[in-house]
């Protein structure tokens, strides 16, 4: 049995998951990364995407937007502004998210435009991913 690390997923409103996981796949702002036990201590921001935690009980997947992940050798804490279990994802939720991101991108000041547009693209990719 592989070594495990403590995985916590927290949203502003509640704690969504707290399990011993063997690996956690994180959609980091600079690219995906997989954290396993003994990973170097890292803090990364998240882009909208799928977060996966593999544990002895199986794999849990969440669609997350915004927030950051704090990785230490013995655990991963993910603070996501919004996190939805992939099984609960529906077309309407995703469409609403895309719409919201577009609205924000339209409002964003010039220097933030690129980042906001990227968020829209990330969410579109997330929707594409979820559809399959």
């Amino acid at each position: 049995m592989a070594n495990t690390l403590q995985f916590d997923l927290v949203s502003p409103e509640r704690k969504l998951a707290s399990v011993q996981a063997t690996e956690v796949q994180i959609p980091g702002a600079d690219g995906d990364m997989t954290a396993m036990e003994g990973h170097a201590a890292t803090i990364t921001t998240l882009r909208p995407g799928i977060l996966k935690a593999v544990s002895a009980q199986g794999t849990q997947a969440f669609a997350v937007t915004g927030g950051f992940a704090e990785i230490t050798a013995s655990g991963v804490t993910v603070l996501a502004e919004r996190a939805i279990p992939v099984d609960d994802l529906s077309g309407t939720i995703l469409d609403a998210m895309v719409q919201e991101a577009r609205d924000l991108a339209a409002l964003a000041p010039a220097e933030m435009k690129d980042a906001a547009e990227k968020t829209v693209q990330d969410i579109l990719a997330l929707r594409h991913h979820a559809a399959h």
Partner: protein, 289 residues
């Protein structure tokens, strides 16, 4: 001297009032439990968020490149007071205590020659402040339609504040809310949110790798940190409101009970007096024959 019928009506109406206040107390108790659970559930997120921001701010804060949300505009001229109160009344001193704190703060700032702007959240505070501070109102967030406070509500308020900050409308923002202590004690609190005031950093944070850079993460997290603080304040306020309402309604129920006792005694005395009077009339009439 009220007639017997008047007294009876009066007792009936106080009894009805007591039923209503009793029901309100129980509803508030149920809501309070839910509000406390929500506040409890939100704590891990807020704690981690604050800890990480504190760590980042400690390492980045001193440099020139610090984000404006942390460094401020460099001025201390215009203050935005964000006043969070309830949408409904009948909750004892809940709104009054916040309003009193806001008045004191506003008076202090005005006396120091600063400009004051007020953003109200929840209509009760707005009503109470309108008379003497109405001229400083710049906006209002209506929470009447909100059944259960969610993070999205906090984000909306945060966005409104950021938009004003970007437009250079103020230098310092402070939120006013009641911190929940217990059912009988809520503490009116003023908390500065812009420029952010990160707490003391815990020692070990410097050991992390940051991806992307520390500055970029801090810039990304600060707005979320502010939204989180607002969210925490909204939840604390929600729990405080229900707590205050619960104890206010408990008092009202007890007062109604006392009043019913007093009125009942008065009713019985007047009835007895009427009977005695009739008897005396009959007896003295019989004696006169």
């Amino acid at each position: 001297m009220p007639s017997l019928k008047d007294l009876k009506n009066r007792i009936g109406s106080v009894k009805n009032t007591r039923k209503i206040t009793k029901a309100m107390q129980m509803v508030a108790a149920a809501k309070l439990r839910r509000a406390q659970e929500a506040a409890e559930a939100a704590r891990p997120y807020a704690d981690r968020m604050n800890a990480v921001i504190a760590g980042l701010a400690a390492s980045v804060g001193g440099s020139d490149g610090a984000p404006r949300l942390l460094a401020g505009t460099g001025a201390d001229k215009v203050h935005l007071l964000v006043v969070m109160t309830s949408e409904r009344g009948l909750c004892g001193g809940f709104n009054t205590t916040i309003v009193r704190l806001v008045r004191a703060k506003a008076a202090e700032l005005l006396a120091a020659g600063k400009t004051v702007k007020i953003l109200t959240v929840g209509k009760k505070g707005r009503e109470q402040l309108r008379r003497d501070l109405g001229e400083y109102f710049v906006g209002h967030v209506d929470m009447a339609e909100v059944k259960r406070v969610g993070y999205a509500n906090a984000q909306d308020i945060a966005r409104e504040i950021f938009a004003r900050f970007e437009a250079g409308e103020f230098d310092v923002a402070t939120i006013f809310f009641n911190r929940f202590q217990s059912v009988i004690s809520q503490i009116p609190t003023a908390q500065q949110i812009i420029p952010a005031q990160p707490g003391e950093a815990a020692g070990a944070t410097a050991l992390y790798d940051y991806e992307p850079s520390e500055e970029a993460i801090l810039a990304d997290l600060l707005p979320r940190g502010v939204a989180t603080q607002i969210f925490t304040a909204l939840l604390e306020n929600g729990a405080s409101e229900q707590g205050a309402r619960m104890s206010a309604m408990d008092n009202a129920t007890r007062n109604a009970g006392d009043m019913i006792n007093r009125l009942t005694i008065q009713y019985n005395r007047s009835r007895q007096a009427a009977i005695t009077k009739e008897l005396i009339e009959i007896i003295s009439g019989a004696e006169a024959l």
